[in-house]
Symmetry: C2
Subunit: 637 residues, 2 copies
Amino acid sequence: MARQLTNPSTQIRRYNRLRPVSARSVQIQDAFWSPRIAINRSVTLPSQFQQCEETGRVDNFRRASGKKEIPFEGIFFNDSDVYKLLEAMAFALGQHPDDEALIRMADVLITEIADAQDANGYLNTYFSVNRVGERWTNLKDMHELYCAGHLIQAAAAHFDATESTRLLDVAKRLADHICETFGPVSEGKREGACGHEEIELALAALYKATGNDRYLNQVEYFLGARGQEVSALYTTPPTRDFDRRYFQDQVPFRDLTEVVGHSVRQMYLDSGAADLYAETGDASLLAALEAQWRNMTERRMYVTGGLGARWEGEAFGADWELPSDRAYAETCAAIGGVMWNWRMLQIAGDAKYADQMELQLYNAMLAGLSLDGASYFYQNPLSNDGSHRRQPWFGCACCPPNIARLLASLSGYFYSVDDSNGVWAHLYAAGSAELPLQGGGSIALKQETIYPWDGDIRFTVENTPHAGATLHLRIPEWAQGATVQVNGEAPRSVEAGAYAAVDHPWTTGDTVRLTLPMPVRALTADPRIADAYGKTALARGPLVYCLEQIDHDGVDVRDIVLSDDAIGIDFQKELLGGVTVLRAAGNVLDRSAWAAGAYLDRAPGGSPGQAIAVTAVPYYAWANREAGSMTVWVRKG
Amino acid sequence: MARQLTNPSTQIRRYNRLRPVSARSVQIQDAFWSPRIAINRSVTLPSQFQQCEETGRVDNFRRASGKKEIPFEGIFFNDSDVYKLLEAMAFALGQHPDDEALIRMADVLITEIADAQDANGYLNTYFSVNRVGERWTNLKDMHELYCAGHLIQAAAAHFDATESTRLLDVAKRLADHICETFGPVSEGKREGACGHEEIELALAALYKATGNDRYLNQVEYFLGARGQEVSALYTTPPTRDFDRRYFQDQVPFRDLTEVVGHSVRQMYLDSGAADLYAETGDASLLAALEAQWRNMTERRMYVTGGLGARWEGEAFGADWELPSDRAYAETCAAIGGVMWNWRMLQIAGDAKYADQMELQLYNAMLAGLSLDGASYFYQNPLSNDGSHRRQPWFGCACCPPNIARLLASLSGYFYSVDDSNGVWAHLYAAGSAELPLQGGGSIALKQETIYPWDGDIRFTVENTPHAGATLHLRIPEWAQGATVQVNGEAPRSVEAGAYAAVDHPWTTGDTVRLTLPMPVRALTADPRIADAYGKTALARGPLVYCLEQIDHDGVDVRDIVLSDDAIGIDFQKELLGGVTVLRAAGNVLDRSAWAAGAYLDRAPGGSPGQAIAVTAVPYYAWANREAGSMTVWVRKG
């Protein structure tokens, strides 16, 4: 079943149009992201380390290595939390290689992980000691390959950041054990694939780190094993069609034209498939990825970029099934969406992928984290009565370390380069970057802006050996009327929803000024999205807004009706860490006619209800003050 | 914990204002219900018997009695399906005591059930043979008391219909075993209550059948054991708050002011609690029942009377959480709603309970059954793309026999009597009834009407020994402007949402003409019900209507916008077994602006879209023709 792949050159990801620039080459120094990244390193990573120790997650490794005789603690896939945390630490070490506390914590984790590995390479603490006989017996439910994948991702990140092979060697031994175990029966192996995808993108990362084709071939094998009734996936009771959709196993991947089932799994699967395309150029993979992406973005994604409509199965719903109160919109799914969009962007260099990535970063993902960096949302509803509040940790703690690793690696999502001395700017935030060019040497850029509060962005070329580099600047779809100005010359109009190519014989000190207009947008949803019918969502720049009760004199904001399209903006330095709020006029819906029951025999007539001044705040910042009602979709008059 | 109850008189249900009239005393002879009841007896009961045989449900009893050496087949609570079917057969036998086929089938079931009972009274086929040691070890999940309850209900119905004590004796032995096993530790028993309520109302029925206080005391015990952290409920892993809400165990019943968790369980629990109130007059029970009823009907019930908003946990949602496409609205929950409303009606004689009962009968329940009586809905969405179709049976087959027993006992829901020679008519359908009066003797009534298609109802007194009987006629809340006319005299206006009392020195041949106006009603939902915002639901008389694609030239009816409030009616004799359809004018929403994505930067302007003639059919009749889209809530222009 596994097609043998050859990689004649040492060139990795050769079917990508763009190449990532390491997070280590980019410094974000702004008022929006920098404090979050700093808190992530100084507060979040140590506190998550502590949580992993206190909840027995690290002790599970000590148990597996025989250092402690204790029962296994927690959920069977808890190893993955430790690995994701370690991956986050690796990214942070890449930017701060001298952080002694980080070095010490990472060392503890790496030591315990390495010591827990079996001689044959196997590593999963749940299946140690008394469960050795159960290894690899239930790939569908038990997340063994999923956990392995997170270890491998952590190892690849750690190797990239530190050049130490200590963790990478552990990962290679485990990956080799997996490659020896799973594959076509004709090769004397056993068939199988993991119920929770992750191993695919991880092995692709290991291939990138090592150049060893074996790992890439294994990605091809695991991807091809889905939707095939592979016996090892079905050791537990009969699986109905519903269940197979849950883990994207109802059809072969290349026949899948929609996003279905568990949202995080779908995103990780798509990320792995995109990695495989990047190495193989397999057109059938790309066609499936594009079809799934269109289905997701056009029909199954919240206006915030949130993914997953259903609590049951943490799953995508049907087309346009996007309830607000009962949105699942798991933080991890948004992060998975960022990962997948990033890969599609590298493949195609198409701004639509960067737009989606930015939408998810600023909204669906960022809402998962409190402003103080200490508590998290697992689900991210678009409307709430005030009862949904962030928690410091979860029994199933996938989201907290996932946010941590994204924030720690965020600078890696800002730029790409290409084979034609092109430099691609995807995201905007003040900072500086040293971008290695394909022809040799690098270009240094400084970015100045108060984005996302304003669309005025100024690049300064600080160093360049390549006079001919082309600067590709993303013009978001929402930035109609954007202009680019080089060295103060006349502004040039550029197309929204595309990259504006700026060619210039660059010399140090050159400036490029990008102006992205940021009018307030009153979004109208496809009328098939029931919870948005007759309503509008406010947005400005990359940010989606919401109303919170605390800004409305105790009124349930879900009762507010926007009475006017005139919406003003107002930067509030002291509010929510400094945010631009939106101001509008509205009324409070008069619900008195329904006091005795939910259904009236006729529509009540009547006045528009008490006038109210409406204030909208960025969605990511909700639930950081006194608890109260919230809504993204606001009724329209 | 169990309060000792005394029942000084032999009078059962003494705190009820009304007393039921046996289904055997009432004959329905109409064009609406009679064919359904006939099909139920001639087609449904035999086919369900066959299903129970073919799926091993009956063989499980043969296995338990040692007649067959086979593995247990199916789900652990499959006994309950056999019991519910037998209960339906008992009701049918009550009306047709000479139906040989019915007698034979019931005899097979009773024989196999009786033979499967242990010497100590225990009876549950899942926990026979190889699982004897696991009996009563997991009351939370394993439905042992639930299954016992359904046996007891079947036995009470069978005794009532046939006066045979053969099945009743089995039920008494099982009930005695339960009473000996569960109770306060101080009495040397073990604490416990069932995760799926049912035993409560069943033991109340057994008390009614036997007059033995023991069973009523056990109802009090089981009801009181909920919300108490009773250890036997928690033999399986740690139960989070969420899980306890699932089976109404988060607080003691008397502190419960909302309907929560699994909807069927909540309805059965409330039915049992209402039965207990009827015997004890315990005001704290009634207060809790009334609070829960208000919460349900005002905030957590579909316009069809459907109950249960969530697929996860088959559960009630939060207030006003009533999605249309993803409605759960289990058929069994609607039946449970009928059962509870019936009991509240007997307690209070308040027409609001009869209104709800009628709403659920004609809509939420009846939609669960195909017109040919051969296939069923488990879930009853209020809007669908055409993919939801009735099935002939289910692995979890609770709904089919539940519909069967309701239809077989339907005539028992038509009338009550009271202690003041009052006769109460709750439902309307052509037929006749012999109603026993408290003071002795009886009154015979003939009812003539084509209800629900018209509100003209004529009662004729065919026999009466009691000149002073008062006729109480329910005037539905929707029947504004109703009148009553005795013997052709001047019509008298009567209040809607109440019972109209008609006093007359009745003699044979007297007539009472009730006129219930049936204008088409365009219902408007509380704006907090997101899926109904900006929409209307059409209703007429007791029926809620919907649009189906087949009546609209292939147009997705969820795109139709009603453009006019003028709605006509049109009886179609050949359509769907004969229905009154509604006719209106509308337009088809133009969705072209959203072709490229779900969210537009501004509201598209534009015309109202292509005109279309709109036809609405009764909701209960949907999905009986070619598959296509359906919606109850229709967009308003």
